[in-house]
Symmetry: C2
Subunit: 408 residues, 2 copies
């Protein structure tokens, strides 16, 4: 099956918003085995919208639109699709009732009423997160699926209303694993899995590159859930034997969340002290609701004075070894333990750039110190193409990776 993603909205053409709907839908459709041939974006212009539809159907069986379903005069997607298919748009009384219930006591202006009008022959797609429902229409062997623009309304609608119908269309059930890795680049990941990627049509394997992290989606579409699960598991056995050491989650969990759950499980408390990351490590772990259960504090000792005052790093160490050194990282972690008594005390110090760095330790180098079970160790890392942002992100990631390795 071939599909076009047609997003409607002048704000996209102005560059005011990023077209995340196209990204979301493309990823979802790919896992369903549906090929996306085009992304198209038009403004709220009736003629151009119809022309785009005609162009898309030259190659595709299906068009998914987002946007242009709201109450204002600009919102014309529904009307234009109906016109393209020669359908009448009529009031659906049960939708009017649902719409009224959205407004409860509040007054509903007349222009809102058009959100309860739909093509005569279609399936209305529920929208519990907004006032504009979507719809699904099939005619002359062509499918059109129309959803509202806001991602908070579109994504649940796709998940609950569209995906099951797309699977039913294909008489199949989808099952997938969202495998997260760290410490391996996308091209190396692809190389390691080349035989698996090349050889198979189902399960499919797709890799996505992030910053210093890659994910892999292993998806199978089979007549029953059990068969799909078995097929994914069979492939996962091979995936694990190729890249097992890089995998930290098979359920799409981020590394900080994985570490958080491990700490929680083992009843361990964590503190951090940060120089070059300047609070980013703490920000990442406290991004998780409930993190106070495992996270005690972070001392962001950005200047040397703070490193001495807060952590008792010795002036001599800073003088002889510099602030960016194995020795300083160790003294920071040890000092943090003295202050907090946390089970795990992690430190980081490095050259984020653009200034600083030495011949042996150029910009991009950082040291991570870790106090655990009465022992302190430090590890040296470097960063490829070291922009300030990349160095800091890499340092945070390596801190979580080290914690993961230590306590898993």
């Amino acid at each position: 099956m071939k599909c076009t993603v047609l997003t409607v909205g002048t704000e996209i053409l102005f560059g005011s918003i990023v077209n995340t709907n196209a990204v979301y839908l493309s990823r979802q459709l790919q896992t369903l085995g549906i090929d996306v041939m085009y992304h198209m974006t038009v403004g709220d212009n009736p003629v151009r919208l119809k022309e785009m539809m005609a162009h898309a159907y030259l190659d595709c069986d299906m068009i998914i639109t987002t946007g242009g379903l709201g109450p204002t005069q600009d919102d014309l997607t529904k009307e234009m699709i109906a016109e393209y298919f020669g359908e009448r748009v009529v009031e659906w009384p049960e939708q009017t009732e649902i719409l009224k219930s959205h407004f409860k006591g509040r007054p509903m202006t007349d222009n809102n009423r058009k959100q309860a009008w739909f093509p005569e022959h279609c399936t209305v797609l529920k929208n519990p997160n907004g006032t504009a429902p979507g719809f699904w229409m099939e005619k002359d062997g062509k499918i059109v699926i129309s959803m509202p623009g806001p991602p908070s309304e579109m994504q649940p609608m796709f998940e609950n209303e569209v995906r099951p119908r797309l699977l039913a269309l294909q008489n199949s059930v989808l099952f997938y694993k969202d495998v997260r890795t760290c410490g391996i680049g996308e091209s190396q990941l692809e190389t390691e899995l080349l035989d698996l990627i090349d050889g198979q049509t189902d399960p499919t394997l797709a890799t996505y590159a992030g910053t210093f992290q890659c994910s892999l989606r292993v998806a199978s579409k089979r007549p029953t859930l059990q068969e799909a699960q078995q097929a994914v598991e069979d492939t996962m056995v091979q995936v694990r034997s190729c890249i097992g050491q890089y995998i930290y989650s098979e359920e799409g969990e981020e590394l900080p969340a994985v570490v958080f759950h491990l700490l929680q499980e083992k009843g361990l408390r964590l503190s951090s002290c940060e120089s070059c990351t300047g609070g980013m490590f703490a920000a990442a772990i406290t991004d998780i609701a409930g993190s106070s259960e495992v996270f005690d504090r972070s001392l962001v000792t950005y200047c040397n004075k703070a490193k001495m005052e807060e952590l008792g790093v010795r002036a001599e160490t800073l003088d002889t070894c510099t602030a960016v050194s194995r020795e300083t990282a160790c003294e920071m972690a040890e000092g943090l333990y003295r202050v907090t008594g946390s089970d795990l005390c992690i430190s980081v110090t490095g050259y984020a750039g653009p200034g600083g760095g030495t011949e042996e330790d150029p910009v991009g180098t950082f040291y991570v110190g870790l106090w655990y079970q009465g022992k302190v160790e430090a590890f040296r890392f470097s960063t490829r193409r070291p922009s300030r942002d990349r160095v800091r992100k890499n340092a945070v990631l390596q801190m979580f990776r080290l914690l993961y390795e230590k306590i898993k």
Copy 2:
């Protein structure tokens, strides 16, 4: 002038990358007064690419393409554009020389050579940031501008090679102000400026909504730079009289950078202590290179024990007033001053959610304390639609805003 942005790349259709090129080009073209009619994305498929071009030229005078200019077999944009216009693609010997110089000592594989081949009649657009130059071609009253896909190559090429040519085409010079505001929503901003936005065609005013922040671009395109500057300045007088109190930069500077420069200018040192933001404030200021000049440290006292140990917050205060209160915020800021002696000591404590909160202080409420010139004050804030992420971002922003107000 009407334009289509045509991005080429299977990785966009897969949803592997976000189409930031379309956003960037749309914004740039808007400021130049060029209307963007369509965004289109196709894979590396020759037939579809040519069909898309034909469709785009139905409405547009100009197509800007990105992607598909590289050395591999997949990269076919140049060849297809030439074919569409009935042009031959030939080797440009001076481009071969430039290409060779890119590789210096390293071996250059044969497939790289095609990056020095171009349509016979075109202008080659220099690419100092990569091996694939772009090109500009005009034929039969149609313009095509073709650039490489990586934003790090495309954006400087647009800035240095394309923008001046687009301006020359229009016999005009562009000047703009990138006005940053805080404390006013996009719809209120538009309302305040309605007369200005409605009444004028040049300068143009465009608003962009961010999270809790809005920016405004005031741009003028005139025959001379002086005239454009004057026109923008005349409009800015009116803009300032409408929304002056919300403006913190007219040069596109972010709020943390504005605060950093103010601190630098006045020779003031800053420390922070953070509860609900968990290090995000420190991460934002240390994102600026050289921030150690003004920033001392941040104590991320996530649990109550840390608030007492690090900052001397009294157990009694935490008991009677709770950790999220004006009193705790004040004691945190005072304690921070005792520890650091910094000129400005800022604290934050709040309910980021999803759990926590009280009837008077629901999730989304936070208090910011500020010690400055021997005096401590605390301010209460709330957050609309308080997701954890929004509350934390809002808190960081309000901390910077408070500092800005205090020291500007």
